[in-house]
Amino acid sequence: MLNDRISVKIPNKTDYISLVRLISSAIGSRIGYNVDEIDDLKVAMGEACILSFVPDEADEVEISFEVLKDKLEISISGHKGFEPVEEKREAKLSKMIIESLMDEAYYLDEQIRMVKYID
């Protein structure tokens, strides 16, 4: 899967978060993550989706996984940025979880990017 890019477009409905977790789990397994790493990836992806699947925004959320030699890079569109003051309590929890379970996380204007290293 080296240098492969897997991209999926999913309707912007929270109903599909479990599908994203399932896809993440399959990819994590294929690239050799252990059980704990796969679980961390699934949990972080669930949180990134909660932040990204925003009602009344885009019709679709695009998620792409890029498998590199030493890391998995993920980007999720749909995220619209947060004003720190207005940030919901649960969004803070999501970010704490993502930042702890992934090696890198960036919240850009219209997407979340995350990196998890491959040992």
Binding site: T14, D15, I17, S18, D39, V43, G46, E47, I50, R89, E90, A91, L93, S94, M96, I97, S100, L101
Partner: protein, 110 residues
Amino acid sequence: MSLNTKVDFNHDHNQWVFKPVGEIDIYTSSVFKEEIVKSFEERKADLVIDGRQLDYIDSTGLGALISLLKMLQDTEYKIYIDNIRPNIRKLFDITELDKLFIIRGDENAQ
């Protein structure tokens, strides 16, 4: 993405015991919270969440637990989180909610 919560009232200890089986997540957390609020309003008592069969919780589920904690904060009652599995305990630690909740017995979790 499914949750079935067993609800019991323990008369010996005068407490509600909730056993969530499955996942407390964006699909199920509001129903889970409503069930506990309804029980508490029916009879005021300590709340025990027995997490032995809880597979997964996300930030919305943690948010539901925080709002239950707030519901109890000006009362004499407490909320206890019992027997959670290591993968769930990890999320309480990451979010520092382990400092807010009374978490018991997780060392016996499978």
